[in-house]
């Protein structure tokens, strides 16, 4: 006979109490686990969507609008290319990829097209500082979007695979969007004269349905020379991690580049960020509710149990149990309840989120192992905290009164 066995036998003796006590804590933990599981996979899904969307932050010259960027006016303002280095040197977390661009409208024959100067990934990789910052073609971080195999296993399609990165771009080559190629009658391997310079058409880009279809892409430094802008660019496109954006990445970028205009591309970013924020807030609110309600429920359960067990506790005091021992017996019981409540809560919460996640949130949810640890810990802590006062009161029971009842 050990104290553990004594506690266990008492729990089994009062089965209905065991079930009701366990149910209170299990349901509370299940709710938290369910919401957190959905939130975790929702964040991952949002990150992948944003990742697939491409750049989501645009750094423009002060006074320029997004329209200027897309219309590529000859007079559109610019800023120095070395602003890119300011960003990379700051080592800001959440800047997942960036791309400096110079965009101008040019005439090719009778056709007006937009010429965009870009830096190929291979050239960016040649800059040691940028490599340190992990900005070169690196996989999106797990905090932002899961790696590709993980994405696929979670049913999250990675469209980046369809947008092959421009790893290398010779100074005399260009890539042409589908619509521009059709208008200019160009084919892959052909040549085109832009501003009196001949470029080889290295690749026809697949149709994207965006403004890129009407563009010609050439090496940034070639375009700068051709247009006589010097080391100026008209924009930096940044792929920012959605979590980092919600945590104030835009503000941090504004501090680094105060004389620029920094904006997010598309309503989707802010909407998804707000969704993630909402999920996190709901998780937090539920956590507080469960802490309070769960603690009170367990406390109430333990208090009823102490009253029902006055006679037993009196017997234990009579045969030599110290008050500390009585306290320990009751807290051990609470811990056992908390442990099993945590395990069951995790299982039920995870199973519920896996079943309901695809139906309600449209995302595939899988078990989040780290939540198991937190479920058990939280559950045990709630049970112990909730039981502390009843256990203390039990240890203070008046032996004489109890002995009179024997």
């Amino acid at each position: 006979m050990s104290i553990y066995r004594l506690v266990w036998l008492e729990l089994l003796h009062r089965k209905s109490q065991l079930v009701s006590g366990l149910l209170a804590i299990t349901l509370g933990i299940a709710v938290i686990v369910g919401i957190r599981s959905v939130a975790v996979f929702s964040e991952k899904a949002v990150a992948v969507k944003l990742d697939n969307l491409g750049a989501n932050i645009l750094v423009l010259p002060q006074g320029a609008g997004v329209d200027d960027y897309y219309s590529a006016d000859i007079d559109a303002p610019t800023f120095p290319e070395n602003y890119v280095e300011r960003i990379t040197a700051s080592m800001l977390p959440g800047v997942d990829n960036l791309s400096p661009k110079l965009t101008r409208r040019v005439k090719i024959g009778s056709h007006a097209v937009v010429l965009t100067g870009i830096l190929p990934a291979g050239e960016i990789a040649s800059k040691p500082l940028w490599q340190t910052a992990g900005l070169v073609g690196a996989d999106v971080q797990a905090s932002c979007a899961p790696s590709n195999p993980a994405n696929e296993s979670q049913g999250l399609k990675d469209d980046r695979l369809q947008r092959k990165p421009i790893d290398a771009l010779s100074r005399n080559d260009c890539f042409i969007g589908t619509a521009a190629a059709q208008r200019l009658g160009l084919a892959e391997g052909g040549t085109v004269i832009i501003e009196k310079k001949e470029f080889r058409v290295a690749r026809l880009l697949p149709e994207t349905g965006t403004v890129d279809d009407d563009r010609i892409f050439a090496h940034l430094h070639t375009v700068q020379t051709l247009l006589g802008t010097g080391s100026q660019i008209s924009a930096i496109e940044i792929m920012g991690c959605c979590n980092a954006i919600s945590e104030g990445l835009l503000g941090k970028l504004r501090n680094i580049l105060p004389d620029t205009r920094i904006t997010t591309i598309g309503q989707i970013v802010s909407t998804q960020i707000e969704t993630n924020r909402l999920m996190n807030k709901i998780s937090f609110i539920f956590l507080i509710i469960i802490l309070v309600v769960g603690g009170i429920s367990i406390g109430n359960f333990m208090w009823a149990n102490v009253n029902e067990r006055r006679r037993e506790l009196g017997i234990l005091l009579m045969i030599g149990a110290s008050k500390k021992k009585i306290h320990a017996i009751l807290l051990l019981k609470a811990s056992v309840l908390g442990f099993f409540g945590g395990v069951l809560g995790y299982v039920i919460g995870t199973a519920s989120s896996m079943i309901l996640g695809p139906q309600l949130a449209g995302i595939v949810v899988q078990p989040v192992p780290v939540l198991f640890f937190w479920s058990v810990l939280l559950s045990v802590v709630i049970a112990i905290v909730g039981s502390f006062i009843p256990a203390y009161m039990a240890a203070k029971l008046d032996p004489f009164t109890i002995m009179q009842e024997l």
Binding site: E10, L316, M318, G320, K323
Partner: protein
């Protein structure tokens, strides 16, 4: 001196009657190995005195000295230790834990002394054998007769090899034949093991077993 009671008084604050004297200035001594009976009418303070000797009720005044040590100079843990090591209790309603078998009930005081389970089991089995419950060790209290339950309670009281057994109306719920069996068992323990037995009783027949008899009336010795 085994047990010395010096000017012991106890007052209770009753919710309607105010301060009530349960015991008033009682002094006596008990030598080791005696069978002491405490008798008196209801409300005379018998049970209060017994619980005070067991370290369960603090006196309002006076002291209980056990083996030259003032009992109530001890803190709660000290008093619990005193009960674990020196006292066995036998109550009128047996005081068994309902969801534990006879064997487990006897093992509980040993568990409180952190004795290993195998030894607990061996000692508890021997004790139940000695009170004639060999075939009943795995029975729950509700599966035992009143007399058998009281035997389990006596076996539990003996588990820690106590110096004294404090019995509060141990035969109060038993028919005369069973009562006699229990009293004989207590007497046997008193004589054979030299355990001091202090028994509160209403029964004149039970009181006859004592070789020291204390009579209380309105909280005072008669």
């Amino acid at each position: 001196m085994f047990l010395q009671i010096d000017n012991l008084s106890k007052q209770y604050n009753h919710h309607t009657d105010g301060l009530v004297d349960a015991l008033k200035d009682i002094t006596f001594t008990i030598e080791k190995g005696l069978f002491v009976t405490i008798t008196g009418p209801s409300g005379a303070g018998k049970s209060t005195l017994l619980l005070m000797l067991g370290g369960l009720v603090h006196p309002t005044a006076g002291q209980v000295v056990f083996n030259n040590e003032s009992l109530y100079a001890l803190q709660h843990d000290g008093l619990a230790g005193f009960r674990r090591r020196h006292v066995g209790f036998v109550m009128q309603n047996f005081g068994l834990i309902p969801y534990l078998s006879a064997l487990q009930n006897v093992m509980v005081p040993l568990a409180l002394q952190n004795i290993e389970t195998a030894e607990q089991q061996q000692r508890a089995t021997n004790l139940l054998d000695s009170v004639g419950l060999t075939g009943r060790i795995n029975h729950l209290p509700r599966e035992l007769s009143s007399g058998q339950q009281q035997r389990v309670a006596i076996a539990r009281a003996m588990a820690n090899n106590p110096s004294m057994i404090l019995a509060d109306e141990p035969t109060g719920n038993l028919d005369p034949a069973l009562a006699r069996e229990i009293l004989e068992l207590l007497k046997k323990l008193n004589v054979e093991k030299n355990i001091t037995v202090i028994m509160v009783t209403h029964s004149p027949q039970a009181a006859e077993y004592g070789n020291m008899r204390i009579k209380l009336k309105e909280g005072q010795l008669q």
